[in-house]
Amino acid sequence: MSAYDIVNKAREKDRLLASDYIEAIFSDFMEMHGDRRYSDDKAVVAGIAFLDQMPVTVISLEKGHDTNEKIMRNFASAHPEGYRKALRQMKLAEKFCRPVICFVDTSGAYCGIGAEERGQGQAIAENLAEMMTLKVPIISIIISEGGSGGALALAVADEVWMMENAVYSVISPEGCASILWKDSSKMAEAAECLKLTGPDLLSFGIIDQVISEEQSKEDLMCYIKTELQRAIAERRQLSQDQLLEQRYKRFRAIGNPQAQK
């Protein structure tokens, strides 16, 4: 399958959405709204739930199932208030020692007048910095589309996983093609060049595992649940300093020319 086939798969209408994962993996999910500064961005769904007996904070970018919901959720393109809502929940998770689990599915942070006026760049930057030192385990899963900074703002984590038919990219293939060849229809070539698939990113050490979609939904959800428990239990063995040192080093090592020699 080509990179562009995977891009198309990641964008298919009938793919599982963040809310489908949340419903299947956790119990008693209670949604918490608002960033306490401006509004409630419905592109981001955040709340508290049980992972078996363990309280966890769950944050997701949610595309929406039908047309009305998609519009209401702005197709998971978050505004700054969405990232600030996510950060507020992460800070609460830290206060109450809950692990944070993020489901990422967005073509990117929203590009618009309001988003710029309210500091899209500042909101994303703050999440990156705060997540790097958040004193609880963070696991992020790219479930379909991981669109650039808008995805990374929920993916500075101890482990980052990708679904088999998900993509994670610095720029959309269309955007890349229009910059490179002034022709956005050459997106298949661009997708190939960008190395945005799970196996490529796994080989670069940018993600930690690719999750097979060649299994039933029940098996898939069961696998993710088990893996979450494993990843959290491993992090719980560490001191806070060790946890943060490992997270820092995980990102520190990416693209270090000395380390690559």
Partner: protein, 291 residues
């Protein structure tokens, strides 16, 4: 230095950014330039004396990284770090090598940021300055590495950081490696900050994309040059997305100041004095005494 001068590309008269005050060619006194803002003719020698600001309308010309270092750092105090790091084509991106070669010729630099230590008004400071002539100051792995390494060094030595941003964002040609530099640099800024050190982030024209959405917006104090374009998405991308024209002044430094995302707009001539005072007020960024 001699080798660099051989490759220096002197740009057309409307753009003086390739002129390097320290190593560039001498500009004949009679040479004139047209200011792109007020369209009036100005003497190149006047422009240079005026730190590349139009003496008629105040338009700030884009200047290169070495010129900025010359303006800000105490004379002869700048000691560069990691100046020899160069990028490699990590993901076999088409024609990246030739782009890098071109960028090197155009800028006479090895990468899109210059990092080092200097004194500013006598205060020991870590300094990075991005270079727009090198692939529009885009952030790839080397830019991310150099900035991260500088923040780590400044943290270790309890030094304040001053950084001049100019960037089109993350460098597409390095794919996800470049996106990860946003997390990497932001993490290093956070550690520097948590250790009680000062970071002054200076935004210049233009600062956009992944640089805005990482270290550039993480300053304790964020300053900007007049009229600098500052934003996450570029104005053309926004116009294409929302299918309407953007209002005049949108995403300019004055607009961003009004929205509350920068602390002050400082003209080039005042920058050194302003920064020196800030460093003094923060005791050079160290030895804070909490009463």
């Amino acid at each position: 230095m001699l080798k660099k001068n051989l490759f220096k590309k002197v740009k057309s008269s409307a753009d003086v950014s390739a002129f390097n005050k320290q190593s560039g060619p001498n500009i004949p006194d009679e040479m004139c330039l047209r200011c792109p803002s007020c369209k009036k003719m100005i003497f190149a020698s006047d422009l240079e004396e005026n730190l590349y600001v139009c003496n008629l309308c105040g338009h700030h010309f884009r200047i290169n990284a070495r010129q900025r270092i010359h303006i800000i750092a105490d004379e002869g105090s700048f000691r560069e770090q990691d100046g020899d790091l160069t990028s490699v084509n990590l993901i076999d991106f088409p024609s990246y090598e030739s782009k890098l070669k071109h960028a090197h010729l155009q800028s006479a630099e090895n990468e899109a940021v210059i990092c080092g230590f200097c004194t500013i008004g006598g205060h020991e400071t870590a300094l990075f300055v991005m270079e727009a002539n090198f692939m529009m100051g885009s952030m790839g792995t080397v830019v991310g590495e150099k900035i991260t390494h500088l923040f780590e060094g400044a943290t270790k030595r309890s030094l304040p950081m001053l950084g001049f941003a100019v960037s089109g964002g993350a460098r597409m040609q390095e794919g996800m490696y470049s996106l990860m530099q946003m997390a990497k640099t932001s993490g290093a800024v956070k550690r520097h900050s948590d250790a009680g050190n000062l970071f002054i982030s200076f935004l210049t024209d233009p600062t956009t994309g992944g640089v805005t959405a990482s270290f550039a917006m993480l300053g304790d104090i964020i300053l900007a040059e007049p009229k600098a374009l500052i934003g996450f998405a570029g104005p053309r991308v926004i116009e294409q997305t929302i299918r309407q024209k953007l209002p005049p002044g949108f995403q300019r430094a004055e607009f961003v100041l009004d929205k509350g995302f920068v602390d002050a707009i400082i003209e080039r001539k005042q920058q050194k004095e302003y920064i020196t005072k800030l460093l003094a007020m923060h005791d050079g960024g160290k030895n804070h005494v909490c009463l």
